[in-house]
């Protein structure tokens, strides 16, 4: 059934057709290797292998994929077509700026659009993903304080934060201090005050947070952090929840990253490539990674590498450029009005779906949510069940499961993000499935325990897989 490509290989086949060598063969004066051991198959066999593999995936184009904080919205087809244009896909990063004016203009325009959307002054499009954006942002902040001659080494993160926040802070050489959430799911102001000092470099905040709740105290939080001289970092994973209704720049954030593969509809590709542009307020602009796109007086665009205060480079070249092309296509397709409608529908969908299941499922923080919400499956414990069992049963009912067991502050968390690209009917079917599962849990818990039954493989034994990991075929 799940034969590997290596197990299908047979001698005497090829899946490619290369042109003949049209220059004389040179003497090979470098050491060379013996065989590699790559499989050999014909093109139809390779195509069939991967087509059949693809059929073992659930995907957004197949059905509802409500992974919380992942913003699994429809990925418009036109975006893919635009990114595949030879005028973008076939550009070489070392070609002269004069021969890549359209690409530079696109990056410039996307920067302008992201500035308007977030309320920041300037963006770098180099970071390859959200976590990479976080690291970039923290490097920028660190450089800012270095220039000011201040030694600050503490990064505050709420207990509801994404795991990447503390991991990025550690990678930036900082000490992580956790701030508690209060009874409404926001930052606990008293705890924040207790932890603020002149050693605090930044507070990293997702707003709306991972509970899907907008922190109503955001202006006070910004004031408190700024009062001790610290900066405020915005994790843009949840930009979807307020885009067009409020901007992080107006909330007091000094640095933001946005995830083009979330809010701006670029596909996640089974794990990437993403793109995590970082926007900053003016005082941080000199430190942005090189190169920076500039517009000259004559209207021509160029890459500026001569920036004495730059933090350097965060990766090679200009980042995941083709992902930027897709996001720009999306922004033009929606425009300001569409972006506002996008958020309105995403938030309406989330609240409507929540209203259909709350009561049956425990809602730890009962407020109007933004684009996502978090339920607790704590009560399933009485039937010997865990949140994983609920998730696996959802797979049987034809849905992808929500994010589970996160955020950590909710016991047995189910984090649901429907997005604006789902219909009312889909939300109702999903709610029905969740209600059925709760009923099954009470009456036939084995249905959950033994789930999934209707998927390409049954429940996987992760414990055994981790005991003596097999990481490659031999």
């Amino acid at each position: 059934m799940s034969e590997l490509i290596f197990e299908k290989s047979k001698h005497g086949c090829t899946g490619c057709s290369l042109t003949h060598l049209d220059v004389p063969q040179a003497e090979i004066d470098i050491p060379t290797r013996a065989g590699i051991g790559l499989p050999t198959l014909s093109e139809p066999e390779v195509v069939r292998h991967f087509t059949n593999l693809s059929r073992k995936n659930f995907a957004l184009d197949i059905g509802f994929y409500p992974l919380g904080s992942c913003t699994m919205k429809y990925n418009p087809k036109v975006n893919e077509d635009m990114a595949a244009l030879p005028g973008f896909a076939q550009l070489h990063p070392y070609q002269p700026d004069s021969s890549a004016q359209g690409a530079l203009e696109l990056l410039w325009e996307l920067d302008r659009a992201l500035c308007e959307i977030t309320g920041m002054d300037r963006f770098t499009l180099q970071p390859a993903a959200g976590a990479h954006g976080e690291l970039t942002g923290l490097f920028l902040i660190a450089r800012y304080f270095q220039e000011k001659g201040q030694k600050r080494d503490i990064v505050l993160v709420p207990d509801s934060a994404h795991g990447t926040n503390p991991a990025s802070a550690a990678l930036a050489g900082c000490q992580v201090v956790v701030v508690r959430s209060d009874s409404r799911g926001g930052v606990d102001l008293e705890d924040l005050k207790a932890k603020l000092s002149d050693r605090v470099m930044a507070l990293m905040l997702t707003n709306p947070n991972t509970l899907g709740l907008f922190d109503e105290n955001i202006l006070t939080i910004a004031e408190l952090v700024h009062a001790v001289g610290g900066l405020l970092y915005y994790d843009g994973a949840n930009l979807e929840g307020t885009c067009g209704y409020a901007r992080p720049g107006d909330m007091g954030f000094d640095v933001v990253h946005v995830n083009l593969h979330k809010t701006f509809s670029t596909p996640h590709g089974g794990g990437g490539p993403g793109s995590g542009p970082v926007g900053v307020k003016e005082m941080l602009e000199p430190f942005l990674p090189v190169p920076v796109v500039t517009k000259k007086a004559d209207g021509a665009f160029a890459l500026d590498w001569e920036r004495p205060q730059t933090i350097g480079m965060m990766r090679s070249f200009l980042g995941n450029f083709l992902v930027a092309v897709k996001a720009y296509t999306y922004i033009l397709s929606l425009g300001g009005t569409g972006l506002r409608q996008m958020t309105a529908d995403a938030v309406l969908n989330a609240n409507y779906l929540l209203s259909l299941v709350k009561g049956t499922y425990e809602l730890p923080y009962d407020r109007i949510c933004k684009h996502e919400f978090v339920l607790s499956t704590h009560k399933f414990g009485q039937w010997g069940l865990k949140v994983t069992d609920v998730a696996k049963r959802l797979l049987d009912k034809g849905f992808h499961a929500p994010t589970i067991a996160f955020p950590l502050i909710v016991d047995g968390a189910l984090m649901v993000e429907p997005t604006e690209t789902e219909s009312k009917g889909t939300l109702e079917s999903f709610a029905k499935a969740l209600l059925e599962i709760e009923e099954e849990a009470r009456t036939h818990p084995e249905l959950l325990k033994e789930a999934p039954r209707h998927t390409p493989v049954r429940r996987i034994d992760d414990v055994a897989a981790n005991r003596s990991p097999v990481l490659r075929w031999k």
Binding site: S9, N57, Q90, L348
Partner: protein
């Protein structure tokens, strides 16, 4: 808006069910002082207008498909078999998320497992991860892993490592309090270890072929750093070289990492590409990134799942081996399909053709009066020439004649002011090479 399924009636009905009278009520928790009442100024375009706008931007660029190009420097144009895009564009692959629910992600998971195996085959290493962002960040993570293994804080890096990888490394290491020491090259362009000290070094990072295209003597470098207890990192920026050159394991590299764009991806103005990362098995728990392992399901059938996640940020938080979450999964699939189609013979042929084309190019350029190779060490598919005059001027001349020439090395290497780096792959025909050489000769003639 065509992407939004809610109808105006749906919206009214749903708001009603929530006991709200308007959309604004959904945002009442946002303080009034910062709530936006008007849409952004960005105009919305109809789909045909969007296409026209993007096509017009694309048309302003000179692309390497319609132009003859000799640019390399970590991004290479190789033939991409037609089947690849059709498979990558299967929505089951590209519209899926990270495989958090393994039972409905077996396609992605098995593909990554196969990809990890392919990378182990190419490099000879024992384990490979699911991908990093690119070659530069893969190298940066390798140095942090070496620090974690050895507890040492000095990172030795070849000056001939890709300048942008070195720049990235500097950015990453700065705040970790790690010291970066550059190892010079000798007059042949090869690594010169005689002027640096291996003591207390966490690792030695050597790119081969190096940024100048030269093949390094890796065994000696490996022995040198191992004798001092450091980690040996093999970096590469042209993955096609792995089809011909000895694998990383053959010279006892502890970590092999680099850029995989050559494995079936277009140049894409530098991204997305593929960060490749492989290591010796004994270091697997210190590796960054996602790892996929073989498993069994409840019926005892073969399956695949994420393993050793306790190294990762979503479990370990600030104690994770890296902060990476999203990677370049679709690019890893791209590389896997490419290698599956090319197979043993095809991949070897690509590497050999690159070698022969570049050597033909070098031989012809050498015949132009006043041009001579900057370095004498053997090269793979890229070679630097010292030219009589400015490389920028030569490039501008060539561009006027529709040729994307080479890389002027002076921005990154002020000591190599007249050095011009040219690359050739199987995509450069003899005709293109001859035309380039003729133009270079003409330009040279104009100087005299």
């Amino acid at each position: 808006m065509r992407y939004f399924p809610l109808t105006p009636d749906d919206r009214v009905e749903m708001l009603g069910a929530l006991g709200l009278s308007s959309t604004e009520d959904l945002f009442a928790d946002i303080p009034a002082a910062i709530r936006i009442r008007q849409p952004f100024s960005i105009p919305a375009l109809f789909e045909p207008e969007v296409v026209e706008r993007l096509e017009s931007l694309a048309a302003k660029n000179l692309n390497t498909k319609s132009t003859s190009s000799f640019l390399g420097g970590g991004i290479y144009r190789h033939y991409v078999p037609a089947a690849i895009k059709h498979l990558l564009m299967r929505a089951e692959f590209y519209t899926a998320y990270t495989p958090y629910q393994a039972e409905v992600s077996q396609g992605t998971l098995q593909a990554v497992f196969e990809y990890q195996t392919m990378i182990c085959l190419l490099t000879g290493m024992e384990v490979a991860n699911a991908s990093m962002y690119d070659g530069a960040t893969a190298v940066a993570e390798a140095s942090l892993m070496a620090r974690s293994i050895t507890g040492r804080k000095r990172v030795l890096v070849a000056g001939s490592l890709h300048p942008q990888y070195r720049a990235t490394l500097r950015t990453y290491l700065h705040l970790q309090g790690l010291e970066l020491v550059e190892v010079p090259w000798d007059e042949r362009g090869a690594l010169d270890l005689s002027r640096v000290c291996a003591e207390e070094a966490a690792c030695l990072i050597v790119q081969s072929p190096n940024f100048f295209g030269l093949v390094e003597e890796m065994s000696a470098a490996g022995q040198w750093i191992h004798a001092a207890g450091g980690i040996f990192v093999h970096a590469f920026a042209e993955a096609a070289s792995l089809g011909l050159l000895p694998p990383s394991a053959s010279f006892d590299a502890d970590i092999a990492c680099g850029e995989g764009q050559s494995l079936g991806m277009p140049p894409s103005y530098g991204g997305p590409g593929l960060g490749i990362f492989a290591a010796k098995e004994k270091y697997v728990r210190r590796m960054p990134g996602r790892l996929i392992g073989e498993a069994l399901d409840a019926d005892g059938q073969r399956a695949f799942t994420m393993v050793l996640a306790t190294r990762e940020q979503h479990i370990r938080r600030e104690k994770a081996t890296s902060n990476i979450c999203s990677n370049q999964a679709l690019c890893a699939l791209n590389a896997l399909i490419y290698l599956s189609l090319l197979g043993e013979e095809g991949f070897r042929q690509v590497a050999e053709q690159c070698y022969h084309k570049a050597h033909y190019l070098a031989e012809r350029l050498q015949a132009v009066a006043g041009l001579k190779p900057t370095f004498a060490a053997p090269f793979f598919n890229e070679v630097a020439f010292t030219i009589p005059g400015s490389p920028q001027a030569l490039n501008a001349y060539l561009l006027k004649h529709g040729i994307l020439g080479g890389i002027a090395l002076d921005r990154d290497y002020p000591g190599l002011a007249n050095s011009w780096l040219v690359a050739a792959t199987e995509m450069n025909s003899k005709e293109q090479i001859d035309a380039l050489v003729a133009r270079v000769a003409q330009w040279r003639g104009g100087l005299a």
